[in-house]
Symmetry: none
Subunit: 251 residues, 2 copies
Amino acid sequence: MSMKPGWPELAVVLVEPKLDLNVGAVARAMKNFGLGRLLLVSPGCDHLSDHARALSCGADDLLESAEVFSDLDRALADFKLVVGTTARLGKYCKPVYTPAQTAAKIGELGIAVPVAIMFGREDFGLGREQRRHSHILSSIPVNPEFSSLNLAQSVLLYGYELSQLKSGNRVTESNDSGKTGGDLATHAELQGMYAHMRSTLEAVDFLNKSNPDHLLEYLRRLFGRAAMSSREIRIMRGIMSLIDNPRKPTV
Amino acid sequence: MSMKPGWPELAVVLVEPKLDLNVGAVARAMKNFGLGRLLLVSPGCDHLSDHARALSCGADDLLESAEVFSDLDRALADFKLVVGTTARLGKYCKPVYTPAQTAAKIGELGIAVPVAIMFGREDFGLGREQRRHSHILSSIPVNPEFSSLNLAQSVLLYGYELSQLKSGNRVTESNDSGKTGGDLATHAELQGMYAHMRSTLEAVDFLNKSNPDHLLEYLRRLFGRAAMSSREIRIMRGIMSLIDNPRKPTV
């Protein structure tokens, strides 16, 4: 699978993976976040085994299209950025980027740049020589007293973080309310609602006569921070209308 | 484990988990990111089984300190923010926050606020009634053509994202609502307000008789994401009382 034009071409590189189960689980993790290119360097297992396929939960296509290399240099040759993942934070590893910082770094590269995220063996991680192929190093900040992430979970976290490059959730301005801008009420609609609230609540003496804005200010803060949609404005004005035109008590 | 003072007190709430394996794997995922409080609501399995312990990979302490409830309302009563996770993105669920936006939202609440992240059953997720306990809804943006995250992986991703609240990687200090955590309404106060709204708006036929929840769902999303204070709850209930007991027209 190729990434859409306009996004970095992200590939996951597994160096000397030992267990077919793990390669399958990695494919599953990748596919959740739209990562489609898998490279295996000197694998110690059969990535097309039944076990690998079962653990991929339907991401067999990634296993079948995996590119297998015996040489790390050749595998990495065409990438513009190679991120080496490591749990080791020794002094020769500085600086180490978090996944979020890594994503930001990749985002800075601009479009259609081939980027490799490299993971080492399940038990040892990347060896020192392998690590030296990295342009940058990255590490997931886990609980120092309990670090227990397996290979597929690590790939999952990077996949999640990197997928946000595509959706633009993080690198660009996030829309705090989770809505599209088109849905958001205009300033005029919001002001119209506040004016309606003021006239309604004044008419029924709900506001303090000497300081009506005291309570209105609370309402402005409440509704202002909610980033209301046009629809929500209409609902709130409908509720005000219930006070404007009370139904007759059904005695 | 209690969180350090100065950070939101994050709890993972599993609603009706079916398999002990999954509860164990959730504990493991949590501990990686320093989440220490686990609530189980009506569990369908033994969270202290050998299987659960094995899958926790050394996070037995979280299993042993897990709090078990038979009632969701009681489990959630003392939380100031309840995040419901969902894979469903129906129109009544808008807005749905990404994990990153959820973390930002929690960061805005300020320090030492108890926050619950709620996950539904492995096969169905949160049911409609369960989802209504959410102040905000959150969903992991996965590949629409291949969505295959298990329960522990979902917890892992939220744990990762929320752990960045502590490290301060992402969330700025700004307290958007200008409130301190102590001011925030409890879940029980919020549910009380919704119940009041339902009875008021039903009594005046403002709700669609065949589907009263349609409009109420909009109100839940609106007020849920606003992170209301106790004072604001009292104001909104005061406004409802104006509909309950209309002033006589001053003719």
